[in-house]
């Protein structure tokens, strides 16, 4: 299902006007939100699913797919989003979790889900629950790519390790990963996840996007990085181009010029432990 988004950029937007800017810049989809992660961090409080009227406004404004977020485990929010007719649901750690043990049983829905993961075991647990797409969690709303790098390297590294194992060691590997054996065996055979793997969390520049693609991401989510920057339209188009030509430094150099101010970043060691979103999810 999510194969058609590959090589593309999915952008967080909070208004129909931003959605139009994203579409005009070449986004393959937009994520409709009331607050981008950077603002959720600043304002605090419980972060929930967006107002359906707000999501409708964005769905009316653009003709590319529209995603929306529900809280981890909040299956009723997911039911509402499916009823509205969104194209994908992101069961997201950026919102305040609604269940500390269970994620949404995504097989019960016809709308496809994307879920975050920090490692291969977590990715496979989400896929076993029915996720059609995985993204690295990174650390949303920080403009700091270091966590996305860690998660992409870990997921890809664990995949490579599985591919090198003899078949009789895959059973113990499944136990260690806390993931279903059948999915572990699929990954070992194919050398890749059985669904699309995107990256997210802290991507703020064309070079960030290019790095993630070279680390094996099949596409990029950009959250606060675009509309918290000085010139969103130019930066959005530049990140789209950098994602496609991720292995061509001349193109990355060209699109990195004259982008205006990037979003202000947050160093993760200054972030209190309860503000690390990547630890949310089970």
């Amino acid at each position: 299902m999510a194969e058609m988004l590959k090589g593309g950029v999915i952008m967080d937007v909070v208004t129909p006007e931003q959605a139009k800017i994203a579409e005009d810049a070449g986004a393959v989809a937009v994520m409709a939100l009331e607050r981008v992660p950077a603002d959720i961090r600043v304002q605090g409080g419980v972060a929930r699913m967006s107002d359906p009227d707000m999501i409708d406004g964005i769905m009316d404004a653009v003709s590319i797919p529209v995603m929306a977020k529900c809280r981890i485990g909040h299956f009723a929010e997911a039911q509402v989003l499916q009823a509205i007719g969104v194209d994908y649901i992101d069961e997201s750690e950026v919102l305040t979790p609604a269940d500390e043990a269970h994620h949404v049983d995504k097989w019960k829905f016809t709308v496809p889900f994307v879920c975050g993961a920090t490692n291969l075991g977590e990715a496979l647990r989400r896929i076993s629950e029915g996720a059609a797409m995985i993204r690295s969690k990174g650390e949303a709303g920080t403009g700091n790519v270091v966590e996305a790098t860690r998660h992409m390297r870990r997921i890809r590294g664990e995949i490579r390790r599985l591919s090198a194992l003899p078949p009789d060691e895959l059973y113990a590997a499944a136990k260690e990963l806390q993931a279903p054996y059948d999915l572990v065996a699929d990954v070992a055979r194919d050398g890749k996840l059985p669904v699309v793997l995107f990256t997210a969390g802290g991507i703020a520049t064309p070079a960030d996007a290019a790095m993630m693609m070279q680390l094996g991401a099949e596409g990029v989510f950009v959250g606060s990085g675009i509309f918290k920057s000085g010139d969103p339209a130019t930066r959005a188009a530049a990140i789209v181009k950098a994602t496609t030509f991720h292995d061509d430094p001349d193109v990355i150099a060209k699109v990195s010029r004259a982008l205006g101010e990037p979003m202000v970043g947050i160093n993760l060691d200054t972030l209190p432990p309860d503000q690390h979103y990547a630890g949310r999810g089970w």
Partner: protein, 191 residues
Amino acid sequence: MPVIGVLALQGDVREHLRALGGAGARAVPVRRPAEIEAVDGLVIPGGESTTLWRLAMAFDLLEPLRKLIGGGMPAFGSCAGMIMLADRLVDGVRGQQTLGGIDMTVRRNAFGRQVDSFERNIELSGEPFHAVFIRAPWVEQVGPDVSVLGTDAGRIVAVRQGVLLATAFHPELTPDRRIHELFVSMVKGTS
């Protein structure tokens, strides 16, 4: 063995590469004019047609691609690729251009949103074909030189005009290789 390029701007490039390999061609991803000129045929994959168009425009590929296709290079487009090969587009975004080549009018997102996506048997040249439709377009009208190859409940979903082939669905996502084999034989000049 013919060499077929898959336009690698955005979309399910890998699936087409694999399908072409299984259909008797050597398949390579292509993104630059010189790479595209070097292949015997071109596949435009499924993806987001507005993104394909904007990237093709930003990297000065629209005119070279139009020239190659107009000059007789065999091309096959699935879903967004069908949109790119259409002479006329309905429900595109403002200003959206196609490459053209097939004398047809295509309606973008005609079958609806993601949740309206479906898979079922369609009729392909009189035989059933299991087809996956994702936010798919359909063909509203074709010119006299266009052969209709596939229909679903009366809707035109696969067409051919000369060495150009287009499907509203995604044969690259299913194991049935008939469509890719047809395209490979078109590239070889044997069909």
